[in-house]
Symmetry: C2
Subunit: 243 residues, 2 copies
DNA sequence: GCGGTTTCTGACCGGCCGTTTAGTAATGCC
DNA sequence: GGCATTACTAAACGGCCGGTCAGAAACCGC
Protein backbone atom coordinates (compact mmCIF):
# COMPACT_ATOMS: atom_id res chain seq x y z
CA UNK A 1 0.00 0.00 0.00
CA UNK A 2 0.97 3.62 0.35
CA UNK A 3 -0.20 6.91 1.68
CA UNK A 4 -3.94 6.65 2.25
CA UNK A 5 -6.21 9.36 0.93
CA UNK A 6 -7.98 11.65 3.32
CA UNK A 7 -11.23 9.70 3.72
CA UNK A 8 -13.52 12.71 3.91
CA UNK A 9 -11.77 14.92 1.42
CA UNK A 10 -14.28 14.22 -1.28
CA UNK A 11 -17.34 14.97 0.78
CA UNK A 12 -15.66 18.06 2.16
CA UNK A 13 -15.03 19.22 -1.38
CA UNK A 14 -18.63 18.59 -2.32
CA UNK A 15 -19.83 20.58 0.66
CA UNK A 16 -17.46 23.45 -0.03
CA UNK A 17 -18.38 23.42 -3.70
CA UNK A 18 -22.07 23.61 -2.90
CA UNK A 19 -21.43 26.62 -0.73
CA UNK A 20 -19.42 28.31 -3.46
CA UNK A 21 -21.96 27.47 -6.13
CA UNK A 22 -24.73 28.81 -3.98
CA UNK A 23 -22.85 32.02 -3.45
CA UNK A 24 -21.42 32.68 -6.89
CA UNK A 25 -23.05 30.37 -9.39
CA UNK A 26 -21.33 27.72 -11.43
CA UNK A 27 -19.30 29.99 -13.64
CA UNK A 28 -17.93 32.26 -10.95
CA UNK A 29 -17.30 29.64 -8.30
CA UNK A 30 -13.54 29.25 -8.21
CA UNK A 31 -11.86 25.92 -7.77
CA UNK A 32 -9.22 27.48 -5.60
CA UNK A 33 -11.82 28.78 -3.17
CA UNK A 34 -13.42 25.38 -2.96
CA UNK A 35 -10.19 23.57 -2.20
CA UNK A 36 -8.93 26.30 0.11
CA UNK A 37 -12.06 25.88 2.21
CA UNK A 38 -11.00 22.28 2.77
CA UNK A 39 -7.38 23.09 3.40
CA UNK A 40 -6.37 21.53 0.11
CA UNK A 41 -4.53 22.82 -2.89
CA UNK A 42 -6.14 23.57 -6.22
CA UNK A 43 -4.79 20.47 -7.87
CA UNK A 44 -6.31 18.17 -5.26
CA UNK A 45 -9.71 18.94 -6.71
CA UNK A 46 -8.86 16.91 -9.78
CA UNK A 47 -8.01 13.85 -7.75
CA UNK A 48 -11.71 13.59 -6.99
CA UNK A 49 -13.56 15.20 -9.87
CA UNK A 50 -13.22 15.43 -13.59
CA UNK A 51 -14.02 19.10 -13.62
CA UNK A 52 -16.07 21.76 -11.93
CA UNK A 53 -19.03 21.00 -14.14
CA UNK A 54 -18.74 17.29 -13.45
CA UNK A 55 -19.15 17.93 -9.76
CA UNK A 56 -22.23 20.01 -10.31
CA UNK A 57 -23.61 17.50 -12.77
CA UNK A 58 -23.35 14.91 -10.05
CA UNK A 59 -25.43 17.05 -7.74
CA UNK A 60 -28.00 17.78 -10.41
CA UNK A 61 -28.33 14.15 -11.37
CA UNK A 62 -28.88 13.26 -7.75
CA UNK A 63 -31.60 15.86 -7.58
CA UNK A 64 -33.22 14.74 -10.81
CA UNK A 65 -33.17 11.08 -9.88
CA UNK A 66 -34.89 11.69 -6.60
CA UNK A 67 -37.38 14.11 -8.08
CA UNK A 68 -38.19 11.73 -10.91
CA UNK A 69 -38.80 8.98 -8.42
CA UNK A 70 -41.16 11.16 -6.41
CA UNK A 71 -42.94 12.29 -9.53
CA UNK A 72 -43.39 8.76 -10.79
CA UNK A 73 -44.75 7.55 -7.48
CA UNK A 74 -47.15 10.43 -7.27
CA UNK A 75 -48.42 10.01 -10.80
CA UNK A 76 -48.90 6.32 -10.22
CA UNK A 77 -50.80 7.02 -7.04
CA UNK A 78 -53.03 9.51 -8.81
CA UNK A 79 -53.75 7.14 -11.65
CA UNK A 80 -54.50 4.34 -9.26
CA UNK A 81 -56.81 6.59 -7.31
CA UNK A 82 -58.75 7.82 -10.29
CA UNK A 83 -59.14 4.46 -11.94
CA UNK A 84 -60.03 2.73 -8.71
CA UNK A 85 -62.25 5.51 -7.56
CA UNK A 86 -64.31 5.55 -10.73
CA UNK A 87 -66.26 8.45 -12.11
CA UNK A 88 -67.33 9.86 -8.77
CA UNK A 89 -70.95 9.85 -9.70
CA UNK A 90 -71.96 8.65 -6.31
CA UNK A 91 -74.38 10.86 -4.48
CA UNK A 92 -73.31 9.18 -1.31
CA UNK A 93 -71.82 12.05 0.59
CA UNK A 94 -69.93 9.89 3.07
CA UNK A 95 -68.39 7.90 0.27
CA UNK A 96 -67.29 10.97 -1.61
CA UNK A 97 -65.81 12.46 1.50
CA UNK A 98 -63.85 9.35 2.28
CA UNK A 99 -62.44 9.22 -1.21
CA UNK A 100 -61.47 12.84 -1.17
CA UNK A 101 -59.87 12.43 2.21
CA UNK A 102 -57.78 9.63 0.79
CA UNK A 103 -56.73 11.77 -2.14
CA UNK A 104 -55.90 14.62 0.16
CA UNK A 105 -53.88 12.37 2.40
CA UNK A 106 -51.50 11.05 -0.20
CA UNK A 107 -51.16 14.37 -1.96
CA UNK A 108 -50.16 15.87 1.34
CA UNK A 109 -47.68 13.15 1.99
CA UNK A 110 -46.10 13.58 -1.42
CA UNK A 111 -45.98 17.31 -0.96
CA UNK A 112 -44.06 16.92 2.25
CA UNK A 113 -41.64 14.42 0.76
CA UNK A 114 -40.99 16.73 -2.16
CA UNK A 115 -40.42 19.69 0.10
CA UNK A 116 -38.04 17.62 2.17
CA UNK A 117 -35.99 16.81 -0.92
CA UNK A 118 -35.98 20.45 -1.91
CA UNK A 119 -34.77 21.43 1.52
CA UNK A 120 -31.99 18.89 1.35
CA UNK A 121 -30.77 20.24 -1.96
CA UNK A 122 -31.84 23.83 -1.62
CA UNK A 123 -28.46 25.20 -2.55
CA UNK A 124 -28.40 23.19 -5.75
CA UNK A 125 -31.91 24.34 -6.53
CA UNK A 126 -30.88 27.90 -5.93
CA UNK A 127 -28.16 27.58 -8.51
CA UNK A 128 -30.51 25.86 -10.92
CA UNK A 129 -32.89 28.76 -10.62
CA UNK A 130 -30.49 31.65 -10.44
CA UNK A 131 -27.12 30.77 -11.69
CA UNK A 132 -27.02 28.48 -14.65
CA UNK A 133 -28.14 30.54 -17.61
CA UNK A 134 -26.19 29.52 -20.67
CA UNK A 135 -24.79 26.41 -19.02
CA UNK A 136 -25.76 22.83 -19.69
CA UNK A 137 -28.17 23.06 -16.76
CA UNK A 138 -30.13 25.95 -18.15
CA UNK A 139 -33.81 25.20 -17.87
CA UNK A 140 -33.49 21.99 -15.89
CA UNK A 141 -35.41 23.32 -12.95
CA UNK A 142 -38.07 24.96 -15.10
CA UNK A 143 -38.55 21.75 -16.95
CA UNK A 144 -39.25 19.99 -13.68
CA UNK A 145 -41.60 22.75 -12.60
CA UNK A 146 -43.48 22.66 -15.87
CA UNK A 147 -43.89 18.95 -15.59
CA UNK A 148 -45.26 19.32 -12.11
CA UNK A 149 -47.51 22.13 -13.26
CA UNK A 150 -48.90 19.95 -15.98
CA UNK A 151 -49.52 17.15 -13.54
CA UNK A 152 -51.51 19.50 -11.32
CA UNK A 153 -53.45 20.83 -14.28
CA UNK A 154 -54.32 17.32 -15.41
CA UNK A 155 -55.41 16.33 -11.94
CA UNK A 156 -57.60 19.43 -11.85
CA UNK A 157 -59.10 18.46 -15.18
CA UNK A 158 -59.96 15.02 -13.92
CA UNK A 159 -61.54 16.42 -10.79
CA UNK A 160 -63.54 18.81 -12.91
CA UNK A 161 -64.93 15.99 -14.95
CA UNK A 162 -66.01 14.34 -11.75
CA UNK A 163 -67.64 17.51 -10.55
CA UNK A 164 -65.40 17.70 -7.55
CA UNK A 165 -64.07 21.11 -8.42
CA UNK A 166 -65.57 24.01 -10.29
CA UNK A 167 -65.02 24.15 -14.00
CA UNK A 168 -65.06 27.88 -14.63
CA UNK A 169 -61.47 28.43 -13.60
CA UNK A 170 -58.89 27.20 -16.09
CA UNK A 171 -56.82 24.32 -14.82
CA UNK A 172 -53.58 25.88 -15.90
CA UNK A 173 -54.28 28.97 -13.84
CA UNK A 174 -54.82 26.77 -10.82
CA UNK A 175 -51.61 24.92 -11.55
CA UNK A 176 -49.76 28.15 -12.02
CA UNK A 177 -50.76 29.46 -8.64
CA UNK A 178 -49.96 26.27 -6.83
CA UNK A 179 -46.60 25.75 -8.47
CA UNK A 180 -45.83 29.44 -8.26
CA UNK A 181 -46.18 29.25 -4.52
CA UNK A 182 -43.80 26.32 -4.58
CA UNK A 183 -41.27 28.31 -6.54
CA UNK A 184 -41.36 31.14 -4.06
CA UNK A 185 -41.05 28.62 -1.27
CA UNK A 186 -37.96 27.17 -2.90
CA UNK A 187 -36.58 30.61 -3.31
CA UNK A 188 -37.10 31.39 0.37
CA UNK A 189 -35.44 28.21 1.53
CA UNK A 190 -32.03 29.38 0.43
CA UNK A 191 -31.80 32.11 2.99
CA UNK A 192 -33.42 30.15 5.79
CA UNK A 193 -31.30 28.50 8.40
CA UNK A 194 -34.08 26.53 10.05
CA UNK A 195 -36.28 24.21 8.12
CA UNK A 196 -39.65 25.90 7.91
CA UNK A 197 -42.89 24.27 8.96
CA UNK A 198 -43.79 22.64 5.68
CA UNK A 199 -46.78 20.83 7.05
CA UNK A 200 -48.84 23.87 7.95
CA UNK A 201 -47.66 25.67 4.83
CA UNK A 202 -48.91 22.89 2.63
CA UNK A 203 -52.12 22.75 4.58
CA UNK A 204 -52.84 26.42 4.15
CA UNK A 205 -51.89 26.41 0.52
CA UNK A 206 -54.09 23.48 -0.30
CA UNK A 207 -56.92 24.82 1.80
CA UNK A 208 -56.96 28.10 -0.02
CA UNK A 209 -56.79 26.46 -3.41
CA UNK A 210 -59.20 23.70 -2.51
CA UNK A 211 -61.81 26.06 -1.18
CA UNK A 212 -61.35 28.52 -3.98
CA UNK A 213 -62.07 25.62 -6.26
CA UNK A 214 -65.12 24.22 -4.59
CA UNK A 215 -68.07 24.26 -6.96
CA UNK A 216 -70.33 27.28 -6.99
CA UNK A 217 -74.05 26.84 -6.61
CA UNK A 218 -75.59 26.84 -10.04
CA UNK A 219 -76.78 30.27 -11.07
CA UNK A 220 -80.47 30.76 -11.65
CA UNK A 221 -81.20 30.25 -15.30
CA UNK A 222 -83.64 32.83 -16.58
CA UNK A 223 -84.70 30.37 -19.26
CA UNK A 224 -85.63 27.80 -16.66
CA UNK A 225 -87.45 29.71 -13.98
CA UNK A 226 -88.83 26.59 -12.33
CA UNK A 227 -88.55 26.83 -8.58
CA UNK A 228 -85.90 24.63 -7.04
CA UNK A 229 -87.15 22.15 -4.52
CA UNK A 230 -84.03 21.67 -2.45
CA UNK A 231 -81.56 24.30 -1.37
CA UNK A 232 -78.19 24.06 -3.10
CA UNK A 233 -75.52 22.34 -1.05
CA UNK A 234 -73.15 25.19 -1.49
CA UNK A 235 -73.71 28.84 -2.01
CA UNK A 236 -71.00 31.37 -2.50
CA UNK A 237 -71.02 35.12 -2.44
CA UNK A 238 -69.60 36.75 -5.49
CA UNK A 239 -66.28 38.08 -4.33
CA UNK A 240 -64.38 40.81 -6.04
CA UNK A 241 -60.74 40.45 -6.92
CA UNK A 242 -59.30 42.75 -4.36
CA UNK A 243 -55.61 42.16 -4.17
CA UNK B 1 -18.01 68.69 -38.93
CA UNK B 2 -16.80 65.26 -39.84
CA UNK B 3 -17.91 61.73 -40.28
CA UNK B 4 -21.36 61.40 -38.68
CA UNK B 5 -22.03 58.54 -36.33
CA UNK B 6 -24.45 55.86 -37.34
CA UNK B 7 -27.63 57.23 -35.76
CA UNK B 8 -29.14 53.91 -34.78
CA UNK B 9 -25.96 52.12 -33.80
CA UNK B 10 -26.62 52.56 -30.14
CA UNK B 11 -30.12 51.22 -30.16
CA UNK B 12 -29.02 48.37 -32.40
CA UNK B 13 -26.35 47.52 -29.89
CA UNK B 14 -28.85 47.60 -27.06
CA UNK B 15 -31.17 45.29 -28.95
CA UNK B 16 -28.37 42.88 -29.84
CA UNK B 17 -27.07 42.96 -26.29
CA UNK B 18 -30.51 42.14 -24.91
CA UNK B 19 -30.70 39.14 -27.20
CA UNK B 20 -27.26 37.96 -26.14
CA UNK B 21 -27.97 38.52 -22.48
CA UNK B 22 -31.21 36.64 -22.77
CA UNK B 23 -29.44 33.74 -24.42
CA UNK B 24 -26.25 33.51 -22.40
CA UNK B 25 -26.58 35.65 -19.32
CA UNK B 26 -24.48 38.65 -18.45
CA UNK B 27 -21.23 36.85 -17.86
CA UNK B 28 -21.22 34.71 -20.97
CA UNK B 29 -22.60 37.25 -23.38
CA UNK B 30 -19.64 38.25 -25.53
CA UNK B 31 -19.08 41.79 -26.65
CA UNK B 32 -17.87 40.60 -30.01
CA UNK B 33 -21.13 38.74 -30.65
CA UNK B 34 -23.12 41.80 -29.76
CA UNK B 35 -21.24 44.07 -32.11
CA UNK B 36 -21.06 41.48 -34.85
CA UNK B 37 -24.84 41.24 -34.83
CA UNK B 38 -24.89 44.95 -35.70
CA UNK B 39 -22.15 44.70 -38.30
CA UNK B 40 -19.78 46.60 -36.05
CA UNK B 41 -16.40 45.79 -34.64
CA UNK B 42 -15.68 45.04 -31.03
CA UNK B 43 -14.17 48.43 -30.35
CA UNK B 44 -17.29 50.22 -31.49
CA UNK B 45 -19.09 48.97 -28.42
CA UNK B 46 -17.02 51.24 -26.25
CA UNK B 47 -17.96 54.29 -28.25
CA UNK B 48 -21.43 53.92 -26.79
CA UNK B 49 -21.07 52.15 -23.46
CA UNK B 50 -18.66 52.18 -20.60
CA UNK B 51 -18.72 48.41 -20.30
CA UNK B 52 -20.90 45.37 -20.70
CA UNK B 53 -22.17 45.76 -17.17
CA UNK B 54 -22.91 49.43 -17.73
CA UNK B 55 -25.22 48.56 -20.58
CA UNK B 56 -27.07 46.03 -18.51
CA UNK B 57 -27.21 48.42 -15.58
CA UNK B 58 -28.95 50.88 -17.85
CA UNK B 59 -31.60 48.31 -18.69
CA UNK B 60 -32.06 47.31 -15.09
CA UNK B 61 -32.37 50.90 -13.93
CA UNK B 62 -34.99 51.51 -16.58
CA UNK B 63 -36.88 48.49 -15.31
CA UNK B 64 -36.56 49.50 -11.68
CA UNK B 65 -37.62 53.07 -12.30
CA UNK B 66 -40.77 52.03 -14.07
CA UNK B 67 -41.56 49.32 -11.58
CA UNK B 68 -41.01 51.69 -8.68
CA UNK B 69 -43.36 54.17 -10.25
CA UNK B 70 -46.04 51.54 -10.70
CA UNK B 71 -45.55 50.32 -7.18
CA UNK B 72 -45.77 53.78 -5.71
CA UNK B 73 -48.93 54.59 -7.62
CA UNK B 74 -50.52 51.37 -6.59
CA UNK B 75 -49.64 51.74 -2.93
CA UNK B 76 -50.94 55.28 -2.98
CA UNK B 77 -54.18 54.14 -4.57
CA UNK B 78 -54.58 51.42 -1.97
CA UNK B 79 -53.93 53.78 0.89
CA UNK B 80 -56.34 56.30 -0.53
CA UNK B 81 -58.94 53.62 -0.95
CA UNK B 82 -58.65 52.26 2.55
CA UNK B 83 -58.57 55.60 4.28
CA UNK B 84 -61.38 57.00 2.20
CA UNK B 85 -63.38 53.85 2.37
CA UNK B 86 -63.25 53.65 6.14
CA UNK B 87 -63.56 50.58 8.22
CA UNK B 88 -66.09 48.82 6.01
CA UNK B 89 -68.48 48.33 8.83
CA UNK B 90 -71.42 49.17 6.67
CA UNK B 91 -74.04 46.50 6.41
CA UNK B 92 -75.26 48.19 3.28
CA UNK B 93 -74.67 45.50 0.73
CA UNK B 94 -74.89 47.79 -2.28
CA UNK B 95 -72.39 50.15 -0.74
CA UNK B 96 -69.95 47.38 0.06
CA UNK B 97 -70.25 46.00 -3.42
CA UNK B 98 -69.60 49.33 -5.02
CA UNK B 99 -66.51 49.86 -2.93
CA UNK B 100 -65.18 46.43 -3.68
CA UNK B 101 -65.86 46.91 -7.35
CA UNK B 102 -63.81 50.08 -7.23
CA UNK B 103 -60.96 48.28 -5.51
CA UNK B 104 -61.13 45.47 -8.00
CA UNK B 105 -61.12 47.92 -10.88
CA UNK B 106 -57.92 49.69 -10.02
CA UNK B 107 -56.13 46.57 -8.90
CA UNK B 108 -56.96 45.08 -12.27
CA UNK B 109 -55.73 48.14 -14.06
CA UNK B 110 -52.46 48.13 -12.17
CA UNK B 111 -52.02 44.43 -12.79
CA UNK B 112 -52.34 44.97 -16.49
CA UNK B 113 -49.93 47.88 -16.50
CA UNK B 114 -47.40 45.87 -14.58
CA UNK B 115 -47.73 42.92 -16.91
CA UNK B 116 -47.29 45.24 -19.84
CA UNK B 117 -44.03 46.50 -18.40
CA UNK B 118 -42.88 42.99 -17.78
CA UNK B 119 -43.67 42.03 -21.32
CA UNK B 120 -41.72 44.98 -22.62
CA UNK B 121 -38.65 44.01 -20.63
CA UNK B 122 -39.14 40.29 -20.50
CA UNK B 123 -35.65 39.53 -21.69
CA UNK B 124 -34.12 41.68 -18.98
CA UNK B 125 -36.36 40.03 -16.42
CA UNK B 126 -35.28 36.66 -17.68
CA UNK B 127 -31.68 37.53 -17.05
CA UNK B 128 -32.52 38.99 -13.66
CA UNK B 129 -34.16 35.72 -12.70
CA UNK B 130 -31.84 33.24 -14.35
CA UNK B 131 -28.54 34.72 -15.16
CA UNK B 132 -27.17 37.13 -12.65
CA UNK B 133 -26.08 35.08 -9.67
CA UNK B 134 -22.96 36.55 -8.20
CA UNK B 135 -23.25 39.76 -10.20
CA UNK B 136 -24.25 43.16 -8.93
CA UNK B 137 -27.80 42.41 -10.00
CA UNK B 138 -28.15 39.31 -7.91
CA UNK B 139 -31.42 39.46 -6.03
CA UNK B 140 -32.77 42.57 -7.70
CA UNK B 141 -35.78 40.79 -9.10
CA UNK B 142 -36.45 38.88 -5.92
CA UNK B 143 -36.32 42.05 -3.96
CA UNK B 144 -39.01 43.50 -6.18
CA UNK B 145 -41.08 40.35 -5.90
CA UNK B 146 -40.77 40.31 -2.13
CA UNK B 147 -41.87 43.90 -1.96
CA UNK B 148 -44.88 43.13 -4.07
CA UNK B 149 -45.60 40.06 -1.99
CA UNK B 150 -45.54 42.13 1.13
CA UNK B 151 -47.87 44.66 -0.41
CA UNK B 152 -50.35 41.93 -1.23
CA UNK B 153 -50.05 40.45 2.24
CA UNK B 154 -50.68 43.82 3.82
CA UNK B 155 -53.67 44.46 1.63
CA UNK B 156 -55.00 41.06 2.64
CA UNK B 157 -54.51 41.95 6.28
CA UNK B 158 -56.47 45.14 5.88
CA UNK B 159 -59.26 43.34 4.12
CA UNK B 160 -59.33 40.78 6.87
CA UNK B 161 -59.75 43.46 9.48
CA UNK B 162 -62.68 44.75 7.52
CA UNK B 163 -64.16 41.30 7.29
CA UNK B 164 -64.02 41.33 3.55
CA UNK B 165 -61.91 38.20 3.36
CA UNK B 166 -61.63 35.20 5.61
CA UNK B 167 -59.05 35.33 8.36
CA UNK B 168 -58.15 31.68 8.71
CA UNK B 169 -55.72 31.64 5.81
CA UNK B 170 -52.43 33.41 6.47
CA UNK B 171 -51.92 36.51 4.41
CA UNK B 172 -48.44 35.54 3.40
CA UNK B 173 -49.68 32.28 1.94
CA UNK B 174 -52.16 34.20 -0.14
CA UNK B 175 -49.45 36.57 -1.26
CA UNK B 176 -47.15 33.71 -2.07
CA UNK B 177 -49.67 32.10 -4.36
CA UNK B 178 -50.53 35.27 -6.14
CA UNK B 179 -46.96 36.39 -6.66
CA UNK B 180 -45.88 32.87 -7.43
CA UNK B 181 -48.30 32.81 -10.31
CA UNK B 182 -46.79 36.09 -11.46
CA UNK B 183 -43.32 34.63 -11.35
CA UNK B 184 -44.33 31.70 -13.49
CA UNK B 185 -46.05 34.10 -15.84
CA UNK B 186 -42.85 36.10 -16.18
CA UNK B 187 -40.94 32.94 -16.77
CA UNK B 188 -43.31 31.91 -19.54
CA UNK B 189 -43.12 35.24 -21.28
CA UNK B 190 -39.55 34.69 -22.36
CA UNK B 191 -40.36 31.91 -24.73
CA UNK B 192 -43.55 33.43 -26.04
CA UNK B 193 -43.58 35.26 -29.31
CA UNK B 194 -47.07 36.67 -29.03
CA UNK B 195 -48.14 38.72 -26.07
CA UNK B 196 -50.50 36.52 -24.09
CA UNK B 197 -53.97 37.58 -23.06
CA UNK B 198 -53.13 39.21 -19.77
CA UNK B 199 -56.62 40.45 -19.13
CA UNK B 200 -58.29 37.09 -18.85
CA UNK B 201 -55.32 35.65 -17.04
CA UNK B 202 -55.53 38.31 -14.38
CA UNK B 203 -59.26 37.84 -14.18
CA UNK B 204 -59.02 34.13 -13.60
CA UNK B 205 -56.21 34.47 -11.13
CA UNK B 206 -58.01 37.04 -9.08
CA UNK B 207 -61.27 35.19 -9.28
CA UNK B 208 -59.76 32.03 -7.93
CA UNK B 209 -57.97 33.84 -5.14
CA UNK B 210 -60.87 36.12 -4.40
CA UNK B 211 -63.35 33.33 -4.11
CA UNK B 212 -61.01 31.11 -2.19
CA UNK B 213 -60.78 33.97 0.23
CA UNK B 214 -64.41 34.79 0.63
CA UNK B 215 -65.46 34.44 4.24
CA UNK B 216 -66.82 31.14 5.43
CA UNK B 217 -70.13 31.02 7.22
CA UNK B 218 -69.49 31.08 10.94
CA UNK B 219 -69.29 27.61 12.39
CA UNK B 220 -71.94 26.64 14.90
CA UNK B 221 -70.66 27.29 18.36
CA UNK B 222 -71.51 24.44 20.68
CA UNK B 223 -71.34 26.87 23.56
CA UNK B 224 -73.99 29.05 22.01
CA UNK B 225 -76.61 26.69 20.77
CA UNK B 226 -79.20 29.40 20.29
CA UNK B 227 -80.98 29.00 17.00
CA UNK B 228 -80.00 31.49 14.33
CA UNK B 229 -82.84 33.57 12.98
CA UNK B 230 -81.43 34.40 9.57
CA UNK B 231 -79.58 32.09 7.23
CA UNK B 232 -75.90 32.92 6.79
CA UNK B 233 -75.13 34.87 3.66
CA UNK B 234 -72.54 32.42 2.60
CA UNK B 235 -72.12 28.73 3.17
CA UNK B 236 -69.23 26.67 1.97
CA UNK B 237 -68.68 22.97 1.73
CA UNK B 238 -65.54 21.75 3.32
CA UNK B 239 -63.33 20.95 0.43
CA UNK B 240 -60.37 18.63 0.62
CA UNK B 241 -56.98 19.61 -0.68
CA UNK B 242 -56.87 17.43 -3.72
CA UNK B 243 -54.05 18.58 -5.92
C1' DG C 1 -9.32 67.07 -54.09
C1' DC C 2 -7.83 68.49 -49.58
C1' DG C 3 -7.41 69.30 -44.68
C1' DG C 4 -9.52 68.57 -40.55
C1' DT C 5 -12.29 65.98 -37.71
C1' DT C 6 -14.75 62.23 -35.94
C1' DT C 7 -15.98 57.26 -36.53
C1' DC C 8 -14.75 52.87 -36.62
C1' DT C 9 -11.51 48.89 -36.94
C1' DG C 10 -8.92 45.00 -35.41
C1' DA C 11 -4.73 43.66 -33.56
C1' DC C 12 -3.03 43.58 -29.12
C1' DC C 13 -2.61 43.45 -24.01
C1' DG C 14 -3.41 41.57 -19.65
C1' DG C 15 -5.85 39.33 -16.14
C1' DC C 16 -8.39 35.53 -14.72
C1' DC C 17 -9.02 30.86 -13.91
C1' DG C 18 -9.61 25.92 -15.29
C1' DT C 19 -6.63 22.39 -16.03
C1' DT C 20 -2.06 19.94 -16.23
C1' DT C 21 2.07 18.21 -14.57
C1' DA C 22 6.56 17.81 -12.55
C1' DG C 23 8.01 17.39 -8.31
C1' DT C 24 7.49 16.54 -3.10
C1' DA C 25 5.63 14.56 1.07
C1' DA C 26 3.35 11.02 3.46
C1' DT C 27 2.54 6.32 4.30
C1' DG C 28 2.78 1.21 4.53
C1' DC C 29 5.60 -2.81 4.03
C1' DC C 30 9.80 -5.19 4.40
C1' DG D 1 15.73 2.82 7.34
C1' DG D 2 14.81 2.02 2.55
C1' DC D 3 11.70 1.40 -1.05
C1' DA D 4 7.47 1.40 -3.59
C1' DT D 5 3.39 3.62 -4.01
C1' DT D 6 0.02 6.91 -3.65
C1' DA D 7 -1.56 11.67 -2.10
C1' DC D 8 -0.88 16.05 -2.60
C1' DT D 9 1.29 20.68 -3.92
C1' DA D 10 2.38 24.58 -6.46
C1' DA D 11 3.99 26.49 -10.40
C1' DA D 12 3.22 26.85 -15.03
C1' DC D 13 0.27 26.58 -19.19
C1' DG D 14 -3.17 28.14 -22.18
C1' DG D 15 -7.58 29.68 -23.70
C1' DC D 16 -10.84 33.11 -23.31
C1' DC D 17 -12.46 37.62 -23.36
C1' DG D 18 -13.00 42.43 -21.65
C1' DG D 19 -11.00 46.41 -22.59
C1' DT D 20 -7.42 49.64 -25.25
C1' DC D 21 -5.30 52.15 -28.84
C1' DA D 22 -2.85 53.27 -33.05
C1' DG D 23 -4.19 53.81 -37.32
C1' DA D 24 -7.45 53.46 -41.32
C1' DA D 25 -11.67 55.06 -43.23
C1' DA D 26 -15.54 58.05 -43.82
C1' DC D 27 -17.33 62.33 -44.02
C1' DC D 28 -17.88 67.47 -44.10
C1' DG D 29 -16.86 72.11 -45.62
C1' DC D 30 -14.16 74.38 -48.70
Amino acid sequence: MARPADPNARSALVAAARAQFREHGIQRARIEDITAACGLSKGAFYLHFESKEALFTELVLQFERQLDALFARRTAAENAFFSRSGPFRSRDFADRSARLAELEAFQNEHDLETLELMWELRDVIHVLINGCQGTAFDGVIWHAIDREKQRVAEAADRLKKFGVIRDDVPSDVVAMMLMGAWVLTMRQMVSQREKPDFATMVTHLNKLIGEGLSPVAEPRRSSKPAARKSAPVARRVRRAAVL
